[in-house]
Amino acid sequence: MRPFSLWLERFSQFVSLPAAWGIFLTGALIYIVSEWRIRFLALIVQYAFIGVLFARVFDTRPEMALMKIVVGWLICGALLLSERIRRVEQRELEPVGRWAANLPFRFLLLITATVVARLASQRFALPYVSPDLGLACFLLVVLAVLFFGTEEEDPGVVGIGVLNLLAALEIFYFAQDPGLLVSGLMVSLNLLVGLAISYLTVAEVAV
């Protein structure tokens, strides 16, 4: 193994548990803040954390982790652009730092989701992945479910939920079958989902 790969593997082992919680915190920020610029900043940071976990999954091919981050940031750019177009079309000027509606309810849901993910990762340990990667998968899945369940009318947030679900699946699946073809198809799928969500965001106000 090359020295850089060795260093990267040790680094990702060290930071993978904080990265898992980092994913959850950024997801929670997306969930409780309605200001779209903050949401996209959080998504950009979330993709950096997902990249760290990918470095753990693809320990001999760190370029895959880099590609995941680049693809994620590309999607963030597309989502940001379409959200901006939507806001201009709707002529909505929202003050920075506005919180999402039903904030106490959202906090309660987030706490419940954290407990569920933590217990699920202990009770139903995912095979062939380390406990911290398993925890990350569960956290991403509960975030996706929260986004689908409570933000079903907002294409941007539902789209982030879809991307989170795909990221959880990738971490779990690639730990067992890190084939090049599946990886390539998953990258294409992520890009397509990003494009579709951007399109839907704009299509909603195009009429």
Partner: protein
């Protein structure tokens, strides 16, 4: 240079999609090219034997040759031919319908790409790749589904995107189950004594397919898509995307025999199917929106297919395929009707806003009505032969279940009668608008589809023969 069948088919479709994207300015040219490409694909598959090498100028095509992609094989098996023909023919039919309804639409190029992916999912052996192709096709479908539709006065309607979002979410939720099934099957090949792996694989595969087919309790996307989506694209989704999932289900039952020999197989399919028929029928009967009626009629139709497979007989399998093949005609007619009625309602398909619309758009109302009768499986439609056969088959085992299935179908009919009654009731003075300016080509299309529906309703033998031929390709119910 020799091209394997998968490269020729998928490459041709993807290449065609790129060309059509460049020709979007010319709707007629784009639509008919799409028809020629998909129809040509069907003809090619039908006429050229898999083992034969065919010289096409500088290239030689060998349909039966596999494509090896990083060690994964894509191959056209004899059992794949009829499903691919069905996809191609149905796509060609829907492109003809969309020709006059969706000017300059991205539906034609995107539709070709979707057909390529779905055909690919039938050719690939591993579940994981089929699942990824189905998911990609689902994501691509969202683009034309919510493309704003241009009215004759230059205004556009559309803008509600909930249906597409829900479809995207449900299709993505189905993906993990299918991909993990692949892992479990690979593990089972190493540890054949571990039957728990098979049990988990069965549950995951069933859940994923239920999500993709809109089985109860995952049916909400069907009605949302039908309410918010562009009618021709909804028809495409309900016939081609959903149809491919049905063919995949049959292919998995054929490949993984342990699925169909599970003791709960028949009762599970029958129970889910009956639940879908009863719930779909009840919801359809109380609908006040035409789009939702289309969605719930499809739910009942899918339920009937589940019940037919649940009989565990080759006859049931044939009935499933007849229902699937009859669906494009019925939904095509409903599409033509719904499109016109929505234009009349300025984008709305609420029955209350369309009072008296039958007098302003008679042909569209007729198309919607006959299409609805066909979807409900009532007489003088190809669906009737299949449903009648299904009721008889069910009655042999349980008369109560047969009556329940009939009640579900009647729910769709009741919803349709209620809708047509409202469309025929003249509105108040302020409600009366101008009549819909009919495109002659659309009227001709309506008549052609009506003729085909009635002809196949009166003489369903050609359809049942093709279905029987397809069913005989699957041997999992053979004694």
């Amino acid at each position: 240079m020799t091209l394997p069948g998968p490269v020729f088919l998928m490459g041709g479709l993807f290449g065609g999609a790129v060309v059509l994207q460049l020709l979007r300015r010319w709707t007629g040219l784009m639509a008919w090219l799409a028809v020629v490409i998909t129809g040509g694909m069907s003809l090619f598959i039908a006429l050229v034997p898999l083992g034969r090498r065919l010289s096409l100028g500088p290239v030689t095509v060998s349909l039966g040759d596999p494509l090896n992609l990083f060690g994964r094989l894509l191959i056209i098996e004899p059992v794949d031919r009829l499903p691919i023909m069905f996809i191609g023919t149905t796509a060609a039919l829907i492109f003809v319908i969309a020709w006059r309804l969706l000017p300059h639409s991205n539906f034609f190029p995107v539709g070709l790409a979707i057909v390529a992916l779905l055909a690919g999912s039938l050719m690939v052996e591993q579940v994981v790749f089929a699942a990824l192709m189905i998911e990609m096709a689902a994501v691509l479908t969202v683009f034309p589904l919510h493309e704003p539709v241009e009215r004759a006065d230059g205004r556009r309607y559309g803008g509600r995107i909930k249906g597409g979002l829900q479809y995207l979410v449900y299709a993505t939720l189905a993906l993990p189950g299918l991909m993990v099934t692949q892992l479990l099957l690979e593990q089972f090949a190493i540890f054949p004594a571990d039957l728990q792996l098979l049990r988990t694989a069965t549950i995951l595969l069933s859940l994923s397919l239920a999500l993709l087919l809109g089985a109860v309790p995952f049916q909400s996307w069907l009605s949302s898509v039908a309410t918010d989506g562009s009618p021709p694209v909804v028809t495409f989704l309900f016939t081609i995307n959903v149809g491919t999932v049905w063919f995949l289900l049959l292919a998995y039952l054929e490949t993984y025999r342990w699925l169909s020999v599970q003791t709960a197989f028949g009762s599970l399919f029958t129970s889910v199917g009956l639940l879908m028929m009863v719930i779909g029928g009840a919801l359809a009967a109380s609908q006040r929106r035409l789009g939702r009626l289309v969605g719930y009629a499809t739910l009942v139709d899918n339920g009937a297919m589940f019940v037919a497979i649940g009989t565990g007989q080759v006859a049931g399998l044939s009935l499933t395929l007849i229902i699937l093949m009859a669906r494009p005609l019925a939904l095509g007619l409903m599409t033509l009707g719904l499109d016109g009625l929505r234009r009349l309602g300025k984008g709305s398909d609420a029955i209350d806003q369309l009072a008296g619309a039958a007098w302003r758009a008679p042909w569209r109302t007729l198309a919607f009505m006959v299409g609805g009768v066909a979807m409900a499986g009532f007489p003088l439609s190809p669906g009737f032969a299949a449903r009648w056969g299904l009721y008889r088959l069910m009655a042999e085992a349980s008369l109560f279940q047969a009556v329940l299935a009939l009640v579900g179908s009647s729910g769709v009919m009741m919803g349709l009668i209620s809708a047509v009654r409202a469309l025929l009731t003249p509105g108040s003075g302020s409600d009366r608008g101008a009549a819909l300016t009919e495109d002659r080509v659309v009227v001709i299309l309506i008549f052609v589809l009506l003729g085909c529906t009635l002809a196949l309703g009166l003489f369903p033998q050609p359809l049942s023969q093709v279905a029987l031929q397809m069913a005989q390709g699957f041997s999992f119910f053979a004694p």
